[in-house]
Symmetry: C2
Subunit: 306 residues, 2 copies
């Protein structure tokens, strides 16, 4: 199954240099998950051909406007397009009132069910669990309550070994039981242990969106060893003091977190509008952690290859 | 003085076909006035080099999202850019709470004074009067409270006739009195009437933004004889029933209003996303009112020539 993230916006607070505020789309098991929804996200979706009908879950990290000002417009548009599938929003609790007051003033009645799942200060743990997918949250350290999100492939079933099941002539109808770990007993009473017929479930790939955060090692246990993290790098080292004062990170700091957490790949974003050229973000990060990439709007980054 | 309108967004509710939700900038006497502020307006301002520092007044016609979802993002950005000049917003009363709740959730304190001037159901009359400018409002007929805005040049002073003041050797220091309509009495007691030395104030050009509205002749008294109106044409005649059901207008209906109100020029906009090609809007409108133009994003339309 495909597992990737497409960047719709990689800039920090003020849209500039052709870049947009934060938004990205995670593709996992044929579903799309929207993370953050800065102003203009619905236009960016048009531009990069993101199918809104495939989005059933939206995750908002925090209530600074560059992470959610585009949400009400997106809800409005998909309502006008007569969506009927329920939509789930996971976001800091006060966002519900902000949405409701705007719908009320416009006398708008959405034609789909909107399920709001409030996130509360310091919350961590699983938000969503369904076939093949587990999504959890963790708190980051920013000027207001802020949440990161972890997207994990889940493989519950063992993998059938084709040559072995052929060799032992296991009937096709028993495959489902094999996947669940059952042993096979043939007509003559022969006991064939499951381990001979199947391999353990495959590797479960993981992606972590680390939201806005200052350099903070307390997030490391949550993101330990994941395949890719997206970590903010609002500033380069030339503005480390500014980064600290505003509870943001530099490229070096993001790389230190990636290194400490032993992740496989670091994708950086949330660039201050003061920077036109993004290449120095990769250069600085790579001095600490070699597998660091600068995110670009419109680009899709594979979390799992193939 | 320059008097013009620049279109930042000319589409109706759903952004599509590269078009944006409603926003436009009126330039008058070296000031910029923003009318409506749909999602993405601040990006459109970047694109078309609109100087935000010159905007001191924002007018919001109504609380359907395609007319104001970009406002909070704009306020946020100009706050981050350390604006200190006060900003005035004229808008339906409930917008104030929508703005305040969003600032509060982000723990944002704007560095400039925000003066909110609420508009109430059915309100009409002057909103702002300052040197050379008068701005008023009138109610339109839409699904929720909605307001049009009229921008008028004001010339309080009579115009000096250069040849006459030279002929009568009027001292330069008296010009200000002449402009105010005073007669001149020279050292020998000769009385020279003001009418010999000055002409009446020049023509006062006027622009009317007619907001979202169904075909409704009650707006005619407000916009009678103005130099340019911007009237919505969400639909063509092929969707007249839809227009009526949704309290919108067709191109023909906008042209009928322009004709009845004897305005000089009609600029049409607020196009439904179902239409890719805009030329038919001009064609249909021109069957009723020849001086009808389709608005295009990024284009500036002169209300006063020269």
């Amino acid at each position: 199954m495909k597992f990737s993230v497409t960047i719709l916006g990689n800039n920090s607070a003020i849209p500039a240099n052709g870049r947009h505020p934060t938004s990205q789309v995670v593709t996992l098991n044929d579903q799309l998950f929207l993370i953050d929804c800065g102003e203009g996200t619905q236009m960016q979706m048009n531009r990069y051909k993101i199918k809104r009908s495939k989005i059933n879950h939206i995750f908002i990290s925090h209530l600074h406007g560059d992470h959610y000002f585009g949400l009400i417009g997106l809800l409005n548009s998909i309502g006008l397009q007569n969506r009927t599938t329920p939509l789930h929003i996971f976001a800091p609790a006060p966002l519900e009132e902000i949405i409701q007051i705007q719908l009320k003033c416009a006398n708008t009645h959405l034609p789909f069910e909107l399920h709001f799942h409030p996130l509360y200060s310091g919350q961590n743990g699983i938000l969503l669990k369904e076939k093949g997918i587990e999504i959890s949250t963790f708190p980051t350290t920013h000027r207001i309550d802020c949440f990161g999100f972890i997207f994990k492939e889940k493989h519950e079933e063992r993998r059938i070994l084709p040559k072995e099941v052929e060799k032992y002539q296991i009937p096709y109808t028993f495959y489902k039981n094999l996947k669940m770990g059952e042993d096979y007993i043939d007509a003559t009473g022969n006991h064939i242990p499951n381990e001979k017929l199947t391999a353990p479930p495959g590797k479960e790939y993981t992606y972590a969106f680390c939201a806005d955060t200052k350099y903070e090692e307390s997030i490391i246990p949550y993101i330990k060893g994941v395949d890719m993290i997206y970590h903010e790098t609002t500033y380069l080292e030339d503005n480390r003091e500014k980064a600290e004062a505003r509870f943001h990170s530099t490229a070096i700091q993001a790389a230190q977190i990636a290194k400490e957490a032993k992740v496989k790949k670091l994708l950086v974003g949330h660039f201050s509008s003061r920077y036109y050229d993004l290449e120095p973000f990769a250069q600085e990060a790579q001095t600490i952690f070699s597998n660091a990439l600068v995110s670009h709007e419109g680009a899709t980054y594979l979390i799992k290859n193939g």
